[in-house]
């Protein structure tokens, strides 16, 4: 049992944290969000130069060849920085999916382009009728004369408005809900018959609704439900860690504020009632950190049901902790917490949106309550 990063991982963390500190202040982030498309191409180029766009890509493609620990280090730093550039969805979720698909020259090329920063992935799994059910796929994949075309629609596709490539789940057999007959397909951003309707999300990220009409696509994995489920668990674990980074930064800024804000002639942090609330926020944060860590390590778990239980438990804990830390942080800041000109509110918004992504705390709690007993899974095997 060892909770420490190794030297390479520490270096990765230091590099990323320093990059965000030097290049991604709250003001710089605000400028990025005001740019066309809602994020900064310059920041993206710099992230590519530092190698982060290829964080999970194999060394053969020039990537960092990272695993869960590297993903965790990156997600935590992104949470602290409130990054709006598409690093999570492209380098992490997209990168993870590509590595789960059978190797091909096409994937290798794409990975190399991701490492260089010229390709950006989006992942389109959700459909409007049942966004949280990865098996509810009505988008169809039809093969004609050796070529595949997609028809249908996907919803809530993170950074789907600007991605150069989109990984789409589509059905070539079976009925909505069945695990059999779902494949993963790659659609290029400028493909014929692809319509994208982009929008900003509540927390300043970007998303899109996608429509496919006889849209040409390439097969990545013809029978992919298990991969989709695993990728969703990985994505959930990632945003749990991101939430921990956001909570941690928000908690630190709240404690700092309590020390400098004076009322009644005293820093308000001198009042025990506020100190104790800051302590309870710390307890909530550390509990979330513990399960986010376990969730990330569970991704390699062979038993898919057990893997999902562990990740879902983390999602519940992060939801509870994130709500508590977020709401308390705004309250302890008072009026200043309410303004768009101050970072606290932006962390709060991000935490709330992480909660609702891929199922909120109540959704996963209801599922876990049906059993089996979580405590029968040895946490540290």
């Amino acid at each position: 049992m060892d909770f420490d990063l190794n030297e390479d991982q520490r270096l990765l963390k230091d590099t990323l944290v320093r990059f965000f500190k030097d290049n991604y202040s709250f003001e710089q982030r605000k400028q990025a969000m005001a740019m066309a498309g809602g994020w900064s191409q310059d920041v993206w180029k710099q992230l590519a130069e530092l190698g982060f766009t290829g964080l999970l890509a194999p060394e053969a493609a020039g990537g960092f060849n990272g695993g869960q620990v590297e993903a965790m280090v990156a997600m935590e730093a992104m949470g602290e920085a409130l990054l709006v550039e598409p690093l999570f969805v492209s380098a992490l979720l997209g990168g993870f999916l590509l590595r789960q698909c059978p190797a091909s020259a096409q994937i290798s090329q794409l990975e190399a382009a991701m490492v260089g920063g010229t390709a950006r992935l989006a992942v389109a799994f959700m459909e409007a009728e049942a966004p949280l059910d990865g098996a509810h796929v009505t988008t169809s994949a039809r093969t004609e004369g050796g070529k595949v075309v997609l028809n249908g629609a996907k919803t809530l596709v993170l950074h789907g408005d600007s991605a150069t490539h989109i990984i789409v789940s589509a059905r070539h057999a079976g009925t909505p809900g069945s695990h059999h007959g779902i494949g993963l397909y790659l659609v290029e951003g400028d493909a014929a018959g692809l319509r994208r309707r982009g929008y900003a999300t509540q927390d300043g990220q970007r998303a899109a609704e996608l429509n496919f009409h006889e849209t040409p696509a390439h097969v990545l994995n013809p029978e992919a439900y298990a991969t989709i489920a695993k990728a969703i668990d990985f994505g959930m674990a990632c945003i749990c860690v991101e939430a921990v980074g956001a909570m941690s930064a928000l908690h630190a800024m709240t404690v700092d504020y309590l020390k400098i804000r004076k009322q009644f002639g005293l820093p308000i942090g001198a009042f025990q009632v506020l100190q104790h609330r800051a302590v309870d926020m710390l307890v909530a944060l550390e509990q979330a950190r513990s399960l986010a860590l376990v969730a990330m390590f569970a991704i390699d778990e062979k038993d898919a049901a057990r893997r999902h239980r562990t990740v879902a438990a983390a999602k519940v804990q992060v939801a509870r902790s994130g709500k508590f830390v977020g709401e308390e942080a705004i309250q302890l800041h008072g009026g200043i917490g309410m303004t768009m000109e101050y970072a606290a509110g932006h962390y709060f918004k991000r935490l709330k949106m992480i909660d609702v992504q891929w199922g909120d705390g109540d959704h996963h709690l209801a599922e876990l309550a049906r059993g089996p007993n979580l405590l029968e899974d040895e946490t540290l095997g």
Partner: protein
Amino acid sequence: MDLHLDPQQRAFRAEVRQFFKDNLPDRVRQKVIKGGYPEYQDMVDWTRVMHAKGWATPQWPKALGGTGWSPVELAIFDDESQAAGAPQMLPFGVNMLGPVLYTFGSKEQQEKYLPRIARLDDWWCQGFSEPGAGSDLASLKTAARREGDEFIVNGQKTWTTMAQYADWIFCLVRTDPDSLKPGGKRQEGISFLLIDMKTKGITVRPIQTIDGGVEVNEVFFDDVRVPAENLVGQLNKGWDYAKFLLGNERNGIARVGATKEKLRRIRALAQTSQIGAAPMSENRRFMERLTEAEIDLKALEVTQWRVLARSGARHGKPDPASSILKIKGSQLQQTATDLAVALAGPYAAVGKSDQSGDNLGPIGPEWAATSAPVYFNYRKVSIYGGSNEIQRNIIAKAILGF
């Protein structure tokens, strides 16, 4: 980074688990899991079993009967022992006084008391709290006046757990009355004294707690004569030893293993317990509350390992992060007892039958009878061992820098 126990640690866990399985009487196990205190004789018997195995005082130095286990192994042992429903070694001797004696006591004191603590030949209780000195322990007033080769002790201790069984009490006493005067340093007039409970002038009065049981007492001292050789360490340095002792008290306070076993039992009973139209396992609200507790406990388990890993680097100094474990651990212990009451439903209300010794059988499910008393009793866990408010003060100061 690696979240797995190494093969040696896994083997250790299996060995400990098997030992409890083979040696712990089921009657005692049932009692502990339901949250009750084991009987005096059960405690003595079990301590002797553990002593014979060499596990009664695992954290002590090896030369004095310790096991030489690493902090991780000690924590595995605690968790397994709690999850098995084994009575904990009486903490007042093993966890509190023992380390004070082998760290600060004289050679004579170590030789006289430590082996008897390890076998529970002597039952120790803790004389710290007083009616006017709870969280503000340094305001204690029980006075010890030196007269020749003796201290004369006058005053009162309270919340003294299981003093009714105790052969000895270790006390914090005021040996410099001036230290309580304005401008005096209250912490610098306190000494650490060992007192034989059979000494003339000691009166023990039981306090019945809201669960109906008696595990705490008031202890009165009326001109109690204590040999001067029973002073531990230096005169007026008792506060340092008390702080050291309280730092040790926070170890194992999360009680993850014990709460795990309680929740496991509740989940199993929910499958068959029916107070409405369907078993409780069909009651979504109940099952979600239970699951939420399980999730929180799983998180606490990892938080505990993280604190432990960190504490290794602090060379045994008390880690303020252990206060996080106390707060969350006590909350979860209380939640588990609350869930047991919900599970018992109306049968939680049943008290002691008028016809004692009858063979009519229990009223309602046998396990339900203890649910409410244990729930009432467990309000104590956020009060003792440094109340959760004191723990928050510690974190606020030592971690958050207020």
